[in-house]
């Protein structure tokens, strides 16, 4: 039965999705590419460093306006790349003047497992962090998390990115927030 008429969760059909994979290692790039194909991702764009990714996102966005090409839905990027790091890419995306680019869901894949990296990536506005070694379950969970829960984006003087608070916790105590956020609804 078509999922439009029922509430039971169904497997995602990702054949209409376009993912940009940024990975400098040919070995890891081809592995993740094949895994994404097995997940049924329709279109996978690949590049080896952040500069190539920036060019590709820009071109894809420009061509999208002519409606001949699907927009990139998720960016999956390695963090440590010698010719243009994941950090540069994340910063470029989150500071972009075009909102379609600025709001792009970003998943960082990294072989580093430090607390510092977790904080750094979170504060730069990524959606998910996937620590290597990759597995089918881990990769699927990060992609599903981006699709399942589109977190609101927060714009402050020092931060732009998904809401860093993942839980709705009841807070008992004095109100410390100086101002309530101004809420804007948008298609994401």
């Amino acid at each position: 039965m078509n999922s439009l008429f029922q509430n039971k969760p169904e497997p995602y059909d990702l054949s209409n999705f376009t993912i940009l994979l940024v990975e400098d290692s040919e070995y890891m790039q081809s592995l993740i590419l094949e895994m994404l194909k097995l997940f049924g991702i329709g279109d996978i764009l690949r590049c080896k460093d952040s500069q190539e990714a920036i060019d590709l996102i820009s071109i894809t966005h420009a061509r999208k306006s002519s409606r001949h090409i699907d927009k990139i839905d998720i960016v999956l990027t390695d963090w440590l790349m010698p010719k243009g790091s994941g950090k540069e890419l994340v910063k470029w995306v989150r500071h972009h003047k075009v909102s379609d680019i600025r709001f792009l869901p970003l998943i960082v894949v990294s072989g580093y497992t430090t607390e510092r990296l977790t904080h750094e990536t979170r504060d730069l506005g990524i959606h998910e962090l996937l620590v290597k070694p990759v597995s089918g379950k881990l990769l699927a969970s990060r992609i599903c998390s981006v699709i399942d829960s589109p977190r609101p984006f927060i714009q402050t003087q020092n931060y732009f990115g998904p809401d860093r608070r993942r839980q709705e916790l009841t807070f008992h105590g004095p109100e410390k927030r100086l101002r309530n956020p101004h809420i804007v609804e948008r298609d994401m």
């Binding site: 999922s3 439009l4 509430n7 039971k8 969760p9 169904e10 497997p11 995602y12 059909d13 990702l14 209409n16 999705f17 400098d24 290692s25 070995y27 890891m28 592995l31 094949e34 895994m35 097995l38 997940f39 049924g40 839905d73 440590l80 010698p82 909102s99 709001f103 869901p105 072989g111 290597k132 070694p133 990759v134 597995s135 089918g136 379950k137 990769l139 699927a140 992609i143 599903c144 981006v146 699709i147 399942d148 589109p150 609101p152 984006f153 927060i154 714009q155 402050t156 003087q157 809401d163 101002r179 309530n180 956020p181 101004h182 809420i183 804007v184 609804e185 948008r186 298609d187 994401m188």
Partner: protein, 180 residues
Amino acid sequence: MNTDKDKNSVLEQTGKALVQMFKPKYNMLKNKAGMRVNMKEDGFIEDTRIQAADQLICDLCKNSKQTLEEQIKILTKLWNHIQELPDNEKRKEKTQEIFIIAHEIKDISSLCDYAIIAHFAESLRDYITEATMNIKNQRIIIQAHIDALSTILKNDISDEAHPIAEELKSKVKIAINKYR
């Protein structure tokens, strides 16, 4: 029509809010994945697809020893070449290549459960970022890492608790502490 920038500046001027929250009207990605935009339940990727992806990793790892051997050969050759370079600047440039290979060795070995190779590759990768190629002592540390990687592969050791692995770890640690 107001842009985001206009709204922000108005809000700043009135002092009402400096924090703006962009809430998704609809979950467009969920819709693109074949679900209703307002469906609360999480979707999923079919288990068979996830299992196939894991099987792909298993299949790839069957040949990983050969891949690692090739990578370590490349690393050794590169290192020998770097040592022959007369110019410090050129040595520095080439160091970046060691970093890339060590990083790749680390990725492959950790993926395929060669924990001890992953350990030394990671240690080499991290060390290389701080090494200056013109200092003899630092070259000893890099050589110690490459020797350890070659020995492990030659003896087909994958377990970190293996006596040879323990011995090599201790030797490299001594080299780092002594010559850093």
